[in-house]
Symmetry: C2
Subunit: 198 residues, 2 copies
Amino acid sequence: MASRPYHHGALEIALTDAAIEVVRSSGIGALTLRDLARTVQVSPSAVYRHFPSRDHLVSRVSQLARQALARDLLTRRDAVTTRGRPARRTVERFEEIGRTYVQFAIDNPHMFEAAFVRCDIRPVNPDHPDAWGVLVDAIDQMIDAGAVPETRRQDGPIISWAGVHGLAQIVTASTWPDGVSADAHIDAVISGITRSLR
Amino acid sequence: MASRPYHHGALEIALTDAAIEVVRSSGIGALTLRDLARTVQVSPSAVYRHFPSRDHLVSRVSQLARQALARDLLTRRDAVTTRGRPARRTVERFEEIGRTYVQFAIDNPHMFEAAFVRCDIRPVNPDHPDAWGVLVDAIDQMIDAGAVPETRRQDGPIISWAGVHGLAQIVTASTWPDGVSADAHIDAVISGITRSLR
DNA sequence: GCGGGAATGTGAACACCGTCAACATTCGTG
DNA sequence: CACGAATGTTGACGGTGTTCACATTCCCGC
């Protein structure tokens, strides 16, 4: 008959792919085991051979979302090729990371929400790449280039992270009026963060 | 028989009270209409006489959480009675507001989550008091007292809000290691925000 | 090659959930 | 007092996560 074989073959991958698609377009709240099983043409309980519970699946999607964000940060950071004094380039890379962080949230609000959803299940493998690490590196570069005082090596990351993460949350929030450009606010916050590192 | 009367009498208040209690202790995800109806000793569908849907109830709890936060900000702000130059007091009040914002999230993580939960239902009445307004006022006071340049009247609020809100999110997140004191990070971010308003 | 355990998928069931429609009771006002 | 409005109940529907017993297939050691 050669209909669908009894064993799917790559069910775990198919499930995570489908899950990401659902989350990207409809949000983490719309993620349903049964719906997922339907789209992958598999019985609901088959999911449990690969994920112990729905929360584990959510946790996996969340990690993938964080990694997608971190990859975005790296790509856009490396695209900054400023000529002139190296110190200036470190600052511009740092600011590009911040802008990209917020822009990711604006462009993919559901994925951003999923990336930091409250979840009790911790990922088995650490994130790679890791957004926090990208930020720490950028600040280290600025300090090494003399663009930012040594003092900031310790508190610089948390200050910057809080700023961009908070702005991303605010701009993504449902209370934010649609159609209002966020660009001015982004520039204001990024400038403010850079100023706070002086 | 004078058991419970057929009409509850103050069901809406009882429901919101019970809902807040559930959210405070177990989070917004644990909020269930049926469970709520059980604790108030009422049939599940009775809830629909007061809330058109679960989302409307969630929206109500969310608003109450935001108002509780705002009240906390006002109380702690007014408790700051610094002697000496008025300009100094405006800054200390501003920083106390920021610290209180983050501390609220640490002390009531579930209520803080609920306060900014993504929700399609907009509250009928505006928040009162309103945390954003408290922050704007504090910055206006600093500017009027000459502690902060006039330029910050426009971008000061978003810069400050992003910082404290982001820090609150980070400290509240599940990835934050338990038992690690957040005080140093709070001080660092608050100082950074004040510095960025220069 | 083949036999058997491990891995993977199925089907039916359970308890719970949000929501609704039809009905019952009480309140409040003319 | 009567009667409509407000409020609460009962029972049902479809959906959900999860589990358990069972079916099928894969793969490794003989």
